[in-house]
C-alpha cells in the first residue's frame, strides 16, 4: 500500500504524555522538587524524568507513529507493538520516578524500582524505536528529513543505554566505581536525550509541519546541510564519550560537537525564516506563532549557553539552559503542534470516511485558534519566569512559574479533550449513528486498515 493511514494509538501516547506533564508541573509548583536549590536532588530527578522520559518521550514517539508513515508514504511496520510499547514505557517511567523518590528517602525499594524502571523504559522506547526504524528502513532511499528522524532514533538508543547505565549505578548493580566515571556519563545522557533524540526529531518534524501549516514550500538544501552537521555533532559527541570512558580529556571533542550542533540549529533557523517569509498564509495561527516562540526559546537557550561558555560560567547556567530547552523549546513546540495535530487527526478519524460525500466542517472549526492563544501565552510566560528564577536562585519564583505552566497545560488538556469530543462542531455536521471520537484511542472504521 502506498500512502499513510490514521495511527490508532497516537492519541493514547499523547494522552499519557500530557497527563504526566500536568503532574510534573504540579509537583514543581508544590515545591516537591526544588531545581533551584537541588538541581541534582533525587526529587528533582524524579520530576525531571516525568517530563523527559514521560511527557516529551511519549509525545515524540506518539507523534512519530503518525508522522513517520507520512514521511515514508507507507504503513507503520510492526504496528502491533504500539500499545505494548506505550504501556511498558509508561510503567517504566512511573517506576523510575518512584525509584528516585525512594532513593531520596533512603527506602529499600529504590534499587529495584530504578533498575526495573530502566529496564521497562528500554523495552517500551525500544519497541517504539523499532517500529519507527523498520518503517524508515522499508522506505529507503530516504530524503534528509526522514534520515534526521532516523538519527534521532540513534540518539534515543544512546539516551536509553546511558540512562540504564546510570540507573544501574544508582541501584548498586555495577561494580564499585572508584573513578566516579558513571557520574561523568550524566552530561552525555542529558545531551543525547534533549539534543540527539528530542531536538533532532523536533527539528525534522518542524521541517515538514511548519511549511504545511504556513502554506510554504519545503526547503530542499537546508535539511541536507543540517543532517551533515547533526551527524558530525553525533560522531564528535560519541568521541567525547569514548574519551571520558577511557579517562582522557574530552573537552575538545565535546566543544567541537557543540559547535556542529549550534551550526545545525543555525541552518534550521535560516530555513525557518525563509519559510515564514515565503508563506502564502498571511495570518499565522496561534499554533504557528507558539511554534515560532518555541524556536526563539531554543535560540535563547543556545545564546545563553554560548555566552556563559565564553565567560567561563557554564556551570552556573546549565539548569537554566536545560529548563529553556525542555520547557520553552521542546514542550512549547509539542504543545503548539498538538494544537494542530489533534484537530487534524480527529477530523480525519471522524469525517475522513464521509469526506467529499457530505458537507464537513473545517479543521479550524474543531479547534479555533482563539481557544489556544491565551494558554500558549501563559505557558511561555511561566517558562521565562522559571528561567529567571533559576538564574536569580529564587525557589518561590520558580514554583510560581511552574504553576503558570501547569495551569496552561491543564487548560490545554481540556481544550484538546473537547476537540476530540467535537465540542465545537455544529449539530448538522455530526454523523448520525456514529459515535464521537474517543479521547485516547482512534476508531478505525471498517474497510480501512489500521
Amino acid at each position: 500500500m502506498h500512502g499513510a493511514t490514521l495511527s490508532r494509538w497516537t492519541m493514547s501516547w499523547f494522552g499519557a504524555a500530557i497527563v504526566l506533564l500536568v503532574a510534573a508541573e504540579a509537583l514543581f509548583a508544590l515545591g516537591f522538587a526544588d531545581p533551584v536549590a537541588a538541581p541534582r536532588g533525587a526529587e528533582t530527578l524524579a520530576v525531571v524524568h516525568l517530563v523527559t522520559a514521560g511527557w516529551l518521550g511519549l509525545l515524540t514517539i506518539g507523534a512519530a507513529l503518525q508522522f513517520v508513515p507520512v514521511l515514508a508514504a507507507g504503513r507503520l511496520r510492526a504496528a502491533a507493538a504500539s500499545l505494548p510499547s506505550l504501556i511498558l514505557a509508561l510503567l517504566g517511567d512511573l517506576a523510575l520516578v518512584g525509584g528516585f523518590v525512594a532513593l531520596g528517602r533512603g527506602a529499600a525499594a529504590a534499587p529495584h524500582l530504578l533498575a526495573g524502571g530502566a529496564a521497562l523504559l528500554v523495552a517500551g522506547y525500544g519497541g517504539g524505536g523499532m517500529m519507527l526504524g523498520l518503517t524508515l528502513r522499508a522506505a529507503r532511499p530516504l530524503a534528509a528529513v526522514p534520515r534526521l528522524v532516523g538519527l534521532g532514533l540513534v540518539g534515543l538508543a544512546a539516551t536509553l543505554v546511558l540512562g540504564a547505565g546510570l540507573a544501574s549505578g544508582l541501584a548498586g548493580l555495577l561494580p564499585p566505581d572508584p573513578a566516579g566515571r558513571v557520574a561523568d556519563l550524566l552530561p552525555f545522557h542529558i545531551v543525547f536525550g534533549l539534543g540527539g533524540w528530542l531536538t533532532a526529531t523536533a527539528l525534522a518534524v518542524s521541517y515538514r509541519l511548519l511549511p504545511m501549516f504556513l502554506l510554504a514550500a519545503e526547503p530542499s538544501v537546508g535539511p541536507k546541510r543540517l543532517l551533515r552537521l547533526a551527524i558530525s555533532a553525533f560522531v564528535l559527541l560519541g568521541l567525547a564519550l569514548a574519551a571520558v570512558a577511557v579517562g582522557v580529556d574530552a573537552r575538545l571533542a565535546a566543544g567541537a560537537s557543540a559547535i556542529a550542533a549550534v551550526a545545525a540549529i543555525a541552518v534550521h533557523g535560516r530555513d525557518l525564516a525563509a519559510i515564514v517569509r515565503g508563506r502564502r498564509r498571511r495570518d499565522i495561527e496561534a499554533s504557528g506563532r507558539a511554534s515560532l516562540l518555541a524556536v526563539l526559546t531554543l535560540w535563547a537557550a543556545v545564546a545563553l549557553g554560548l555566552g556563559a561558555a565564553l565567560l567561563g560560567e557554564t556551570a552556573r547556567v546549565v539548569p537554566t539552559v536545560v529548563h529553556l530547552a525542555g520547557f520553552g523549546w521542546l514542550s512549547g513546540l509539542g504543545l503548539a503542534q498538538l494544537g494542530k495535530i489533534v484537530p487534524f487527526l480527529t477530523w480525519l478519524e471522524y469525517f475522513g470516511p464521509v469526506m467529499g460525500r457530505r458537507p464537513t466542517p473545517r479543521t479550524q472549526d474543531l479547534l479555533p485558534s482563539r481557544r489556544l492563544e491565551p494558554w500558549y501565552v501563559v505557558f511561555h510566560a511561566g517558562v521565562w519566569i522559571g528561567a529567571a528564577a533559576l538564574l536569580a536562585e529564587a525557589p518561590a519564583l520558580y514554583r510560581f512559574g511552574a504553576l503558570m505552566q501547569g495551569v496552561a497545560v491543564a487548560a490545554l488538556l481540556v481544550v484538546f479533550a473537547r476537540t476530540r469530543r467535537l465540542a465545537g462542531v455544529a449539530a448538522e455536521h455530526l454523523r448520525e449513528g456514529v459515535d464521537r471520537p474517543r479521547l485516547f484511542v482512534a476508531t478505525i472504521e471498517p474497510g480501512s486498515k489500521p
Binding site: G3, P69, A143, K449
Partner: protein, 172 residues
C-alpha cells in the same frame, strides 16, 4: 517500456494553425510515466527546450514525405511513480474530464475537493489533479473507496500529479 500518446499536428499546421497549445494540452493529460509522440510537418526544435524543462528527453526521426516524428520520453531521473492496485494500465485510461489545481490549499482541503468531485463522476471517468504535497492520506482512502490512481512527483518533489479513475463505488 514507455507508452506514448500520439498528437498529429500536421493537418493543423497545413491549415496555418498554431499547434503549441494543443501539444501543451496533451501534455497535461499524460499519465505519469507516459510519453508523447508528435507528428509534424517540420522538426519542432523550439519544443525540445520546453519539454526538457518538463523532464522529457526527445528523439526525432524524419518521415518519407518530409514530415517528422518526434518522441518525448520522461527522463530516467524523474522519481518513480506510485500506482494503486489495478492502476498499472493508466496509459489506456480515458482522457481526464476534470483538471483540479489544488496547490496552495491547506490539508485536508485538497483531499476533500478531489473526493467531492469524484462523487459526481461516473465509473471509469478520469480526474487529474495537481497538488503541492504528496496526498498520503488520500491515496489509501481512494483505494478503500474502489478507485484506481497513479501519482508522481516532479524531480524537485514540489508538485504531485494525480490521476484517478473512478471505480464502481460502493455506497457506505
Amino acid at each position: 517500456m514507455t507508452l506514448y500518446k500520439d498528437v498529429d499536428v500536421r493537418t493543423l499546421l497545413r491549415k496555418g494553425g498554431e499547434p503549441f497549445r494543443l501539444i501543451m494540452a496533451a501534455l497535461e493529460t499524460l499519465a505519469p510515466g507516459q510519453g508523447l509522440r508528435i507528428l509534424s510537418t517540420f522538426e519542432p526544435k523550439p519544443l525540445y527546450r520546453v519539454m526538457s524543462e518538463r523532464g522529457f528527453d526527445h528523439a526525432a526521426r524524419p518521415l518519407t514525405d518530409g514530415d517528422w516524428e518526434v518522441t518525448f520520453t520522461p527522463s530516467a531521473s524523474v522519481p518513480p511513480v506510485a500506482v494503486s492496485r489495478g492502476g498499472e494500465d493508466a496509459t489506456d485510461w480515458a482522457d481526464p474530464i476534470f483538471h483540479l489545481d489544488l496547490s496552495a490549499l491547506e490539508a485536508p482541503e485538497p483531499m476533500v475537493r478531489i473526493l467531492r468531485q469524484i462523487d459526481l463522476m461516473e465509473p471509469d471517468e478520469v480526474l487529474f489533479a495537481v497538488l503541492d504535497r504528496e496526498p498520503v492520506f488520500l491515496l489509501p482512502e481512494l483505494e478503500r473507496r474502489g478507485h484506481r490512481w497513479v501519482c508522481a512527483a516532479d524531480e524537485a518533489r514540489t508538485t504531485w500529479r494525480l490521476l484517478v479513475r473512478v471505480g464502481e463505488e460502493t455506497v457506505s
